[in-house]
């Protein structure tokens, strides 16, 4: 059951990742058009601003996918010396700390959105974007990351309690080195 749940989480986040990837592609296209327009003497204006928003939203929503694919870099010096049981304890502790920290981040991101809503703040730019419009999806991404982290933690905890250290290692271990990119 745990395995199927984890497979579903991964599949779900893969869809999320492809969607934000498409958002990035659209943004690249938008920037490209603007460069061409500028050569012709006109411009959309505000590509910088839009790129910034896209980056903020893509970043927060991509975090959960990277976590499930073991993308976040961890230093393996002590952990690699432990046995399978020890390694799974390292992994569980590290994931719990991650989930806790990300929850704090998500909670602290809310006041930023709240302020923009109560003040109806607009960006200090030509577009005058209402900030909540872009900050709300950004905030939701951090909540999503926290949620994914806790769900993965509980799943892996169950695996370890069942004594399935291999499964836990595959779920929350350290990234496979040949796939590491920077």
């Amino acid at each position: 059951m745990t395995d199927r749940f984890l497979t579903r989480l991964r599949a779900l986040n893969r869809v999320v990742a492809v969607l934000i990837g498409i958002m990035l592609l659209a943004c690249a296209g938008f920037v490209l058009l603007d460069i061409i327009l500028r050569q012709l003497g006109s411009s959309f204006g505000g590509t910088d601003e839009v790129s910034g928003y896209v980056m903020a939203i893509a970043t927060s929503w991509g975090m959960g996918y990277a976590m499930l694919e073991l993308g976040h870099v961890r230093i393996d010096i002590l952990r690699s010396r432990a046995g399978p049981k020890g390694r799974s304890l390292f992994d569980l502790a590290s994931l719990m700390i991650l989930a806790g920290t990300v929850s704090v981040i998500a909670l602290r991101c809310w006041p930023v959105v709240e302020r923009s809503i109560t003040n109806m703040s607009r960006a200090n730019t030509a577009l005058e974007t209402p900030l909540w419009l872009v900050q709300l999806p950004w905030f939701a991404g951090w909540v999503w990351f926290a949620l994914m982290a806790w769900l993965t933690f509980v799943t892996a905890l169950l695996m370890v309690l069942q004594g399935r250290f291999d499964a836990s290692e595959a779920a929350i271990g350290v990234f496979a080195e040949e796939e590491a990119f920077q």
């Binding site: 990837g21 910034g52 903020a56 230093i75 809310w110 006041p111 930023v112 950004w138 590491a180 920077q182």
Partner: protein, 427 residues
């Protein structure tokens, strides 16, 4: 506070907590123990402002560009073409490894991506042609590190972002040292193979017609480089916008080379999101830590610490180099950069050094960290592509190239103009 940060950093990292999360935790600690007012109230705003950045969107664009090129087979054809041109040198195909790495560095912002690309296409040739696995794989690991020196470079973008230096200037500054390093790698390979001809495999001379015919396969990379760098220095686009141009050109190249499929696009996007999120967690964590450190008065404390040491600027920079060489053995490189920039760069600048110059020196040291064990990502990437043989082969094979990098670092300290000439001349 300096002791707290350094000890806390090493302790938390060794517990295998993700690097980005460690930076947040240290920031929380500074807030609790060292700050008179609650800094955590600023956390949300810091996370927003450090990711709402039009500069950093260059990172996913450059990563995506690399993903597309690898999946379209352009990499393999470039390698074959360069083989025709450089394999007459003592060392043969080893030079093709360095040359291909150099070319890919000019379109890739990442060292690991460069090493992975070259290793995938080069490794099958090594056994077939009887090369010494040590020198051959070491050359790929080392050549790949050029990815972050020769523009465009993700690490230089991050450096520019965190130190508020000009990214186009940093790109220009990295060009000459990057080319010198590549030449250095070629020279050391020739020297080694003149002393021990058995290491270099067979030298092969191709007929001129084949050499000229191969040139056509270099065109995609040259075209892409010209488009990216050209639009920046023509003033048509910022480095970020040039990255978007690069993505578009890469798509066009891929369409001609192998066609574009839905599968290829979605795989490239997934790879891009994974890498970008990994980098961004570290960058956002570092921004928050920077914020807490400077709010809690790190600047003053560092200045006092430094005056207490009473070092000359030269002695100081040598100490800094030592610190990076030692830390580089153990810490993953982007993390190493991001963690140390807020602490080290203000000190270096206070000693009267140019931040652009120091950015380049730091990149040389970071390149070294990429190929020094036990934590040297490029070593693992190359070993991963080899699929057989001992890890230690790659490590030993990298040693001559580490020496070249040390020489380069010394040259940069002795002749800062190596980095600063181009930015000044073209400004």
């Amino acid at each position: 506070m300096i002791t707290y940060v350094s000890v806390g950093l090493l302790a938390l990292l060794s517990l295998s907590i993700p690097v980005g999360i460690v930076l947040f935790l240290l920031g929380f600690g500074i807030d609790v123990f060292f700050s008179p007012f609650p800094l955590i109230k600023g956390l949300g705003q810091m996370v927003w402002s450090s990711s709402n950045s039009a500069t950093l969107i260059a990172i996913p664009f450059f990563v995506l560009l690399g993903e597309i090129l690898v999946r379209s087979g352009v990499a393999a054809r470039t390698y074959e073409a360069l083989d025709r041109w450089v394999s007459w040198l003592p060392g043969g195909l080893v030079h093709a490894n360095v040359a291909t790495s150099t070319m890919f560095s000019a379109i890739s912002g990442s060292s690991v991506a460069t090493a992975a690309t070259v290793a995938t296409v080069a490794m099958p040739q090594a056994e077939r042609l009887g090369y010494d696995p040590k020198l051959f794989s070491g050359a790929i690991a080392a050549g790949g590190t050029l990815g972050i020196m020769i523009p465009p470079s993700i690490n230089l973008i991050v450096y520019g972002f965190l130190t508020q230096s000009s990214i186009p200037q940093l790109f220009l500054a990295g060009l000459l040292p990057g080319i010198l390093l590549a030449l250095g790698f070629i020279v050391i390979t020739v020297i080694i193979c003149l002393i021990r001809p058995d290491l270099g495999g067979e030298r092969r001379i191709f007929p001129l017609s084949q050499m000229l015919g191969a040139l056509v396969h270099l065109l995609p990379i040259i075209f892409l480089f010209t488009m990216i760098i050209g639009t920046i220095y023509k003033g048509w686009a910022t480095p970020t916008e040039a990255a978007a141009v690069g993505v578009a050109v890469a798509f066009v190249i891929a369409a001609f080379a192998s066609g574009i499929s839905f599968r290829m696009i979605s795989d490239s996007l997934l790879g891009t999101i994974k890498v970008t999120s990994m980098i961004m967690l570290v960058v956002i964590g570092a921004s928050f830590l920077n914020f807490t450190l400077s709010s809690a008065g790190l600047g003053r404390e560092l200045k006092e610490f430094l005056e207490g040491l009473g070092l000359s600027p030269l002695a100081f920079i040598l100490v800094v180099v030592m610190i990076y060489v030692v830390l580089g053995f153990f810490i993953e490189t982007l993390s190493l950069m991001v963690v140390t920039i807020p602490i080290i760069v203000p000190l270096v600048v206070a000693q009267g050094y140019d931040p652009i110059w120091f950015g380049i020196l730091m990149i040389v040291l970071i390149e070294m960290a990429l190929i020094t064990p036990p934590v040297g990502l490029n070593l693992y990437v190359v070993q991963g592509a080899r699929k057989s043989g001992k890890m230690s082969d790659v490590m030993i094979g990298s040693i001559p190239f580490v020496c070249v990098m040390l020489l380069m670092a010394a040259a940069l300290i002795a002749f800062p103009q190596l980095a600063l000439y181009l930015p000044a001349a073209l400004n």
